[in-house]
C-alpha cells in the first residue's frame, strides 16, 4: 500500500475519532460525571495518537498526548471539567482537526497548550473557530463495492449476449436481454445512489458545537436537541446544506432566543429550546429547525423592506403575515438592531435560500411574533436522479418532478372561473390558480384547437396548490438531471435531461415557476 493510501486512511479514520471526541465532549458537559464519556474521549485521543505516530506527525501526537493527559486527570479526580477547560478543549479539537486534514499546516502548539492553565491566553490569541473543513471522501463498505462490481459484471455478460443475439437476428432473444439489462441498470443506479448516501448525523456534532459556542459567547442558556439521526442523505446534498443550517442555527441563538432576563419577563422558561428534526417524507427529507424564541416581527420586517426599497408601502399594506415573513429571504434586508459578528438575520437568509434551492430544495419559514420560529428545509433524497412525469405542452416535452405533483385532473372548460382577471379552478374545496404553461413558455401552438376540457396537473409548492394547464402527459420515468449553465432562462429552468429517444427535455422547477407567475 502506498504512503498516499495510508494517508487517506489515516485522515478519514482520525477525523471520525475527532467527531466522536466532539460529540462525547458535548454530552460530557451536560453529564460531567459520566465515566464512559471520559473513557471514550481518552480512547479516541489515544487511537489518533497511535495512528499519527505511525504516520510520523509529531505535533499531532503531542496534542493528543495533552488531550489524553487532561482526561486522565479528570478521570482521576485531579482536574474538573470547567466551562473554561471545555472551551479550551474544543479549541484544541478544532486545531487537531485542522492538523489532521492539512498535512502541511505549521502551528506553534505552545500558546494553545498553555491556554489550559492561563485563561488570559485565550482572549489574547486564540479565537474559537469551528473548522468547516469536511474531508472530500466518503467511506464505502467493501461489501457495497462488491455488489456494484457484481452488477457491472452481469451487465458485461448481458452486452455480450445482446451482441450475439443481434448477430443472429434473434429479435425475441434481444428483447428479453434488453429487459434484463434494464433491470440491471436500475439495480446499478440504485446501488450507486446508495453508496453516495451518508448519515446526516455526520454533520450533527458541528451543529451542537456551534450552538454551544454561540450561546456561551452571548451568555444565553439553550437546550439544543437533535432528532432523526438514523436518516441518510446524498453526500452532495448534505454538503450544500451544512452551511445554510449552521447559519440558521446561529440566527436562532443570536436573534431567536431571548436573553435570560427577557425570557423571565415574558414568562418563559429561562432556558431557551432549539430542536433540529430530520424526517423523511416521500422522496424528500425534511429538516425542521424550531426555536421557542421571540419569533419574527412581521410588521417590522415590512417596515424595513419598505425602507430598503424592496417593496412599496402599498404592497406592504396588502401583504399577509406569511408573505411578510418570506421577505426575510430578500437580499439586503436585516432586521437585527445591530449587526453582530455572529449573524445578522436577513444578511445571509437570501444566501441560505439560494444554497438550498441549488440542490433542488426549498425553505419554508413559519413564525409567530413572541412565540418562536420554525424553519422547514425540504430536500430531495438525492439530486441527480428524480422521478418525473413527462408532460406535453404545445408538442414539446417537459419533465415535472413527481415529488411536487398532487394529482392530475381533467376539467371541463365550463368549470374555469375568473378571479381578478386570473383563471382559477375549484380543487378539493379550495380555489387554485391556473398556470397556462404554453403561454408562460411562449410556445403557443396555433394549430391546437379548443378542447371541451383541459388537462391540469395539480402541484404543491410551499403548502399551496397550483394547477398547471398542459396538453397531455405521457408517463412516469426516472430521469437523470443535468444542471444547465447560467442562461437567460435560468429564472425558470435550472436543469435538463435526456429522454429515451435522445431528445433533450427541460425539467420544470415548480418553485421557480410559482415565483415567476405569482409574485
Amino acid at each position: 500500500m502506498s504512503d498516499n493510501n495510508y494517508r487517506e486512511m489515516y485522515v478519514s479514520e482520525a477525523l471520525e475519532h475527532v467527531t466522536i471526541i466532539t460529540q462525547t465532549l458535548l454530552q460530557l458537559e451536560k453529564k460531567p460525571d459520566e465515566r464512559s464519556y471520559l473513557d471514550q474521549i481518552f480512547r479516541s485521543a489515544h487511537t489518533i495518537k497511535g495512528m499519527a505516530s505511525t504516520m510520523g506527525y509529531h505535533d499531532t501526537v503531542e496534542l493528543c498526548k495533552n488531550i489524553e493527559n487532561i482526561f486522565d486527570e479528570i478521570r482521576n479526580g485531579v482536574e474538573k471539567l470547567t466551562s473554561h477547560i471545555a472551551s479550551i478543549l474544543f479549541i484544541w479539537i478544532d486545531l487537531l482537526q485542522q492538523m489532521i486534514s492539512d498535512e502541511k499546516l505549521k502551528i506553534d502548539l505552545d500558546p494553545y497548550l498553555k491556554s489550559l492553565r492561563n485563561p488570559e491566553e485565550v482572549k489574547n490569541h486564540l479565537e474559537p473557530k469551528p473548522s468547516t473543513n469536511v474531508s472530500n471522501t466518503i467511506r464505502v463498505k467493501m461489501s457495497d463495492l462488491d455488489l456494484l462490481v457484481n452488477v457491472v459484471g452481469e451487465l458485461l455478460i448481458s452486452k455480450m449476449r445482446l451482441k450475439q443475439a443481434i448477430e443472429n437476428k434473434d429479435y425475441d432473444e434481444s428483447k428479453q436481454i434488453m429487459n434484463e439489462t434494464d433491470r440491471l441498470i436500475a439495480d446499478l443506479q440504485y446501488k450507486t445512489m446508495q453508496v453516495r448516501l451518508v448519515p446526516v448525523n455526520q454533520i450533527f456534532d458541528r451543529f451542537s458545537r456551534t450552538v454551544r459556542d454561540v450561546s456561551k459567547q452571548l451568555g444565553k442558556q439553550i437546550n439544543f436537541e437533535m432528532h432523526g439521526s438514523g436518516i441518510d442523505l446524498d453526500r452532495s446534498v448534505l454538503d450544500s446544506i451544512t452551511d445554510p443550517l449552521l447559519h440558521i442555527l446561529r440566527n436562532c441563538v443570536d436573534h431567536g432566543i431571548e436573553s435570560v432576563e427577557e425570557r423571565i419577563q415574558n414568562n418563559k422558561s429561562k432556558i431557551g429550546q432549539i430542536t433540529l428534526t430530520v424526517t423523511r417524507k416521500g422522496d424528500n427529507i425534511l429538516i425542521i429547525v424550531a426555536d421557542d424564541g421571540k419569533g419574527i416581527d412581521a410588521e417590522k420586517v415590512k417596515e424595513k423592506a419598505v425602507e430598503k426599497g424592496i417593496i412599496t408601502k402599498n404592497e406592504a399594506i396588502k401583504m399577509n403575515h406569511q408573505e411578510a415573513i418570506r421577505l426575510i429571504g430578500s437580499p439586503g434586508l436585516s432586521t437585527a438592531k445591530e449587526v453582530t459578528d455572529i449573524s445578522g438575520r436577513g444578511v445571509g437568509m437570501d444566501v441560505v435560500i439560494s444554497n438550498v434551492e441549488s440542490v433542488g430544495g426549498s425553505l419554508n419559514i413559519l413564525s409567530e411574533y413572541g412565540n418562536g420560529t420554525t424553519m422547514i428545509l425540504t430536500l430531495p433524497l438525492n439530486i441527480s436522479i428524480i422521478k418525473g412525469l413527462i408532460i406535453l405542452v404545445s408538442n414539446q416535452r417537459f419533465v415535472l418532478p413527481i415529488s411536487s405533483i398532487v394529482t392530475t385532473v381533467n376539467i371541463p372548460r365550463t368549470e374555469i372561473f375568473s378571479v381578478h382577471g386570473n383563471d382559477v379552478i375549484k380543487f378539493q374545496n379550495s380555489i387554485i390558480p391556473l398556470i397556462k404553461l404554453n403561454e408562460l413558455f411562449e410556445i403557443q401552438d396555433k394549430k391546437s384547437f379548443e378542447n371541451e376540457s383541459i388537462t391540469v396537473v395539480v402541484i404543491e409548492n410551499e403548502e399551496k396548490n397550483y394547477g398547471l394547464v398542459i396538453d397531455s402527459f405521457e408517463r412516469n420515468q426516472d430521469v437523470v438531471i443535468k444542471k444547465l449553465e447560467q442562461n437567460e432562462y435560468s429564472d425558470l429552468f435550472l436543469n435538463a435531461t435526456i429522454l429515451p429517444d435522445g431528445r433533450v427535455s427541460l425539467v420544470i422547477d415548480p418553485s421557480l415557476l410559482v415565483d415567476l407567475v405569482i409574485p
Partner: protein, 139 residues
C-alpha cells in the same frame, strides 16, 4: 516476494503458508499497517482482524490463529480483558501486546497474564519481524 526471501535468508526461517495471525486493534488504519508489515516481512499472508476485545476472543475461538497481536486501548473489552479471555481458551496462546511507549507498565501486567512479548507503536518493521518470529518459533 523479494522481501519474503530476504527475510528467510536473514532469519533462517521458512514461512509456512499455514501461519495465521489475528490482528486486534480498534483502528482499521493500524490493522492495515501491521498487516502490510507482516506481508512485506514475509511473516504471514493469512491474517484475521478484530476491532475490539470481545470480537478478538470470538475470532480466536473460531480461527485458532498461531499468533495474536493485541492492542491495549479498545472499546467493549480492552486488550488485557481480551488477553485473559484468550488465555482461558488456550493457555499456550501466543499473544503479543501492542502498546505505546508510555503504556509499558501495562505490558508487565500482560506478561503476568501470559502474553509472550510486546511491540511498540510506531512500529519498527524489522523489530516487529524479529519479535513475532521469535514467538512463532516457541511453543
Amino acid at each position: 516476494m523479494k522481501n519474503y526471501q530476504g527475510f528467510q535468508k536473514l532469519y533462517g526461517v521458512k514461512m509456512s503458508d499455514g501461519v495465521k495471525i489475528l490482528i486486534v486493534d480498534d483502528a482499521s488504519f493500524m490493522r492495515t499497517v501491521l498487516k502490510d508489515i507482516l506481508k512485506s516481512n514475509g511473516l504471514c499472508n493469512d491474517t484475521i482482524e478484530a476491532a475490539d476485545g470481545v470480537e478478538a476472543v470470538r475470532q480466536y475461538i473460531q480461527h485458532k490463529p498461531d499468533l495474536v497481536t493485541m492492542d491495549v486501548n479498545m472499546p467493549k473489552a480492552d486488550g488485557l480483558q481480551a488477553l485473559k479471555g484468550i488465555m482461558k481458551v488456550n493457555a499456550n496462546a501466543r499473544v503479543i501486546m501492542v502498546t505505546s511507549v508510555e503504556q509499558k507498565h501495562i505490558v508487565q501486567d500482560a506478561m503476568k497474564l501470559g502474553a509472550r512479548d510486546y511491540i511498540i507503536k510506531p512500529f519498527d518493521r524489522s523489530n516487529v519481524g524479529l519479535i513475532l518470529n521469535k514467538a512463532l518459533r516457541t511453543k
